[in-house]
């Protein structure tokens, strides 16, 4: 964006090392999730990490088939877990989690910041104000309650029933925008607290997105991290009226 964010050479390396380290941690946490079978995450584990590899799915090559068996390398690098409950340790499945869900999170966060830079700045500034994160999480919970109440009320009508998927889509968009703002806020926090130095905001957001991805993959506690990040994102976008400068002002109605 501006010239002032051009990082110096040592600063740039610090960011590169941090991003690579966060990616490696993400893969390791995904492997841990698969190996532990992440009972607390339940179905969320399958959604975020992907299905564990089942042994013996492809035992024999079909006669006359010369094609490359795609599941074979995955099975070659899949090991029996020494922990109970026994689930496979699958490094390639861990990498798959990073390259699918992790990459999607990064792309969404960066796309939102590129398309709505001003709105994201206002939301992140509010998140960085004193008491901002706590207020955002509480506002996210309250927004979720408001949405649930509205959805249930719409469900008991016939005409407005068609608005249910529209409202759900709007809430999903708000949550994604909010999560992107949270990733940028985390990146900026790394910049100031860990003294990583100034860097392009999208690089900071990328690092922040990897932190969010790693937090979500922590076995047992990941679901809590996911909920906190989602509520904080939902809350901060609601409080700032999708990052508008005027916020919730009714001055225009009072003419």
């Amino acid at each position: 964006m501006s010239e002032s964010v051009e990082p110096s050479r040592p600063t740039r390396w610090r960011w590169v090392i941090a991003i690579v380290a966060l990616g490696v941690i993400g893969v390791l946490l995904a492997i841990a999730d698969i190996a532990l079978n992440a009972p607390w995450l339940g179905p969320v584990s399958d959604i975020v990490v992907g299905p564990p590899v089942t042994f013996g799915a492809v035992k024999e090559r079909l006669p006359g088939s010369d094609r490359f068996e795609r599941t074979k390398p995955v099975q070659t690098f899949t090991f029996v877990s020494p922990f109970k409950p026994r689930a496979p340790i699958s490094p390639l499945q861990g990498l798959r989690a990073l390259l699918s869900n992790g990459a999607a999170l990064i792309f969404i966060a960066l796309a939102v910041l590129v398309v709505f830079p001003n709105q994201a700045r206002i939301a992140v500034q509010r998140l960085e104000s004193s008491g901002g994160p706590i207020i955002a999480v509480v506002a996210g919970v309250v927004t979720a309650l408001l949405v649930i109440a509205a959805l249930l009320l719409l469900r008991f009508t016939l005409i407005f029933l068609v608005l249910v998927p529209v409202l759900a889509a709007v809430v999903l968009a708000i949550a994604l925008f909010g999560i992107a703002c949270v990733t940028l806020a985390i990146g900026r926090l790394m910049q100031t607290r860990l003294r990583f130095g100034s860097v392009h905001p999208l690089i900071a957001a990328l690092a922040g997105a990897l932190v969010v991805f790693d937090l979500v993959l922590i076995p047992y506690a990941g679901i809590v991290a996911l909920a906190v990040v989602t509520f904080a994102g939902l809350g901060i976008v609601t409080l700032t009226r999708f990052g508008s400068a005027s916020g919730w002002s009714f001055r225009d109605l009072n003419w």
Partner: protein, 180 residues
């Protein structure tokens, strides 16, 4: 007035007087500013107008700014600070919201009931779409008790009021505004 001193018509010079007094003309068009100077030296009427225009900023500059009282900043900060009661209310509102959620979940026979409402909504939407294209009968409106509807409306109103309080609480302070 008609002889156009400084090669500038009086009508044009009077339009430019404000910009000349503010110094904008000298910055944007130094040549025109020089011609304006020559015109003012030769034209009595325009010079009179110029003196009237220039006198107001000079008079304002000559005014002394009153010394603010030492308590001004403290009083302003106190006035713009969110009330402590509002902060307490923001937390206290979670109690009625939790009570309403508990009532709604209990009324719908727990989380399974909520899940069945969600699945029923999806199937009703499909029926509604089919009815829209004339392929099916309209879906029947689900029976809802007035208690449930009242609780849902109460939850929506409480949550909206709660969000309004949180929005005021999270508004950036004067110092944060200045830092931004």
């Amino acid at each position: 007035m008609t002889d156009q001193p400084g090669d500038l018509a009086c009508a044009r010079a009077r339009v430019l007087i404000e910009a000349y007094v503010d110094g904008d003309l000298a910055r944007t068009d130094p040549d025109l500013a020089a011609r304006m100077k020559v015109h003012l030296a030769d034209c009595d009427d325009c010079r009179k107008q110029y003196q009237q225009a220039v006198s107001l900023p000079f008079r304002l500059k000559a005014l002394r700014a009153p010394q603010p009282p030492p308590s001004l900043l403290t009083n302003v900060m106190h006035a713009v600070r969110p009330e402590r009661g509002e902060s307490r209310r923001a937390w206290a509102l979670l109690i009625p919201e939790a009570a309403l959620v508990a009532f709604i979940v209990w009324y719908l026979s727990g989380l399974d009931g909520l899940a069945s409402v969600a699945s029923g909504t999806v199937s009703d939407l499909q029926v509604l779409l089919n009815w829209g294209v004339g392929a099916a009968q309209p879906p029947s409106i689900p029976v809802a008790d007035v208690f449930l509807l009242a609780a849902l409306i109460a939850l929506a109103i409480t949550a909206a009021y709660h969000l309004a309080i949180l929005s005021r609480l999270s508004a950036p302070t004067l110092r944060e505004h200045r830092r931004a």
